[in-house]
Amino acid sequence: MNNDMQKRLLLATLVSIVFFIAYDFLMPKPQYIDINKTQNSAKEAPSVKSIASDASVEEAPVVDSNIIAKVVSDNFDLEIDSLGRINQVYLKSVKFQIEGHSLPLFKDNVLKPLELRLSNKELNKEAFEINYVADREEIVLKNQPQRLVLTQNLSNLTITKTITFYPSGAYDLNVNLSEDKRYFITTGFRPDVMADALTFYGALFKEFDDTLTMIDDGDAIANQTFNNIKFAASVDRYYASVLYDIENRLNAVLLTDNEANPLIFIDGKQNYNLKGYIGAKDFEILENINPELTDVVEYGFFTFIAKPIFTVLKAIYDFVGNWGVAIILLTFFVRLILYPLTYKGMVSMQKLKELAPKMKDIQAKYKGDPAKMNAHMMELYKKHGANPMGGCLPLILQIPVFFAIYRVLLNAIELKGAEFMFWSDLSLMDPYFVLPILLGVSMYVHQLITPNNFTDPLQAKVFKFLPVIFTFFFITFPAGLVLYWFVNNIFSIIQQQIINKVFEKKKALEKKANG
């Protein structure tokens, strides 16, 4: 019987380990999409009847474009090409650099931000043949915003794009046509630095009622329209190209490339003012440009918890200057808030220590009949006015918090490359496997000192192996997340130890008083 039990236990453990490994294996890994494959699209003719009119977003013929102007600033370099588009943006700060080079946000041969397409076919064709002219070749951005004027003289139409660049990466745009012609202007194909299956990338719209609509790459439906939106953004995990007009709103239409990736086009007006931003999805930068833009940072389903958690984490970080320390302090504060609860639970656990012999009796008496055992156990607790269990609510509350921290670690550019002790990046897995092992050990110790009431003996045995399973399971998770759980366990253990000590002293004193 005992032997059989152990076999089953071993089997269960093996099955769960295989399950977690397989799960991890099957989880989509970060992958870089070969953009060159997707690009013909922009050149093909996505003739679109859109926005309740006969207007259409016209095709863009294949044209070589040259760089006609440059914007140089401390944080980024930006290139304007002869089609009047933002051809490339290089992020220069050390954080973004790859092997000492500044980071280009866009792939070559993709739809570029501020490309303009006229609805009239012939006009559009002409527009792609005639180069824009810039009023200056180079702009050096210091503290003041600077203006660049791009002009395109078609035979019967003059298009003027006036762009005012700000050092933050934001810009104001004015498009002026000498005659009222229908046209569309784009945010461009999304930045393509970090697009992987773990997080969202594609098109993001904030509607007038502040709801967010996300169109994943590969899921876009051509000609879908989004009217009255606050902003339209093409995003990857960490970077974004945004066009916005919070007060007057935008009307956008989606085109698709041949892999069903969304391409955002904004419906233009003859004299059109709107604003934009290209760069990292840095909360502070976006907030300074316009607080409404902070919704570009998006954490998926758990955004409603992830956002406040990020705010708190950021506040702590601003104070201590290290994300690892900030995570530890966050855990500490969460425990501090829960302290009255956990204290009560731990004290009642101490009371129960005196009941231990009786509990053992019950366990022996109802061995093999878990339901009866539980019922009698509960009766015992009731009789002595103590209940050692933590309760389901604290556990269930932990789950979303945990996922939220996971998403913050994945999505927040601020935590990319967050160093802590000898870990170089808390948003990636621990390369030394130290944290997962520490997690397992702390979990084991925590289990030893925490009561449980498993009714199924098999479950109880699997429970004992849980630290091992979790060590393996969490090997590939962001180190920051493992750190959070590890520290949480440590705090639990310490708290329990302190309460144990206090009780022992109390008892010793009572004994003295009595004796």
């Binding site: 609860l341 956990t342 009560k344 639970g345 093999g368 009949d369 339901a371 009866k372 539980n374 019922a375 156990m377 509960m378 009766e379 607790y381 009731k382 209940n387 269990m389 933590g390 309760g391 389901c392 609510l393 604290p394 556990l395 269930i396 289990q447 925490t450 009561p451 449980n452 009431n453 498993f454 009714t455 479950q459 699997v462 429970f463 849980l466």
Partner: protein
């Protein structure tokens, strides 16, 4: 709907209770309570009562025995000549047509 909820509860009982040390303060435990509710009440009511139960399941509340209460009119009772296996007892509360649901734990284990 009921099947889905019962399935989710089963997954929860098999895996998530492991992480949470199976730490319910009540008998029946929150997941068992929800199961009994779903089995004997309409789904919406069952969900609402279960949510209240989970909210109560923390150290500010005493815990202990807390059985699901269902309303039911027992007017179509069928009497069988053979003795039947009892899964759940319906124990009347003080109010009319209201019953505690209590699982029969004295069943013979086959």
């Amino acid at each position: 709907m009921k099947k889905l909820i019962l399935f989710l509860l089963k997954i929860y009982q098999k895996f998530f209770t492991l992480i949470g040390f199976g730490s319910c303060r009540y008998y029946p435990s929150c997941s068992e309570y929800s199961k009994w509710q779903v089995l004997h009440n309409n789904s919406l009511k069952a969900i609402i009562f279960s949510i209240f139960r989970i909210l109560k399941c923390n150290q500010l509340f005493e815990g202990g025995f807390d059985y699901p209460i269902v309303k039911r009119k027992l007017d179509d009772i069928e009497f069988k000549s053979q003795p039947i296996e009892i899964d759940y007892w319906f124990i009347p509360t003080k109010k009319k047509n209201q019953f505690y649901v209590i699982k029969n734990i004295f069943k013979k284990v086959s």
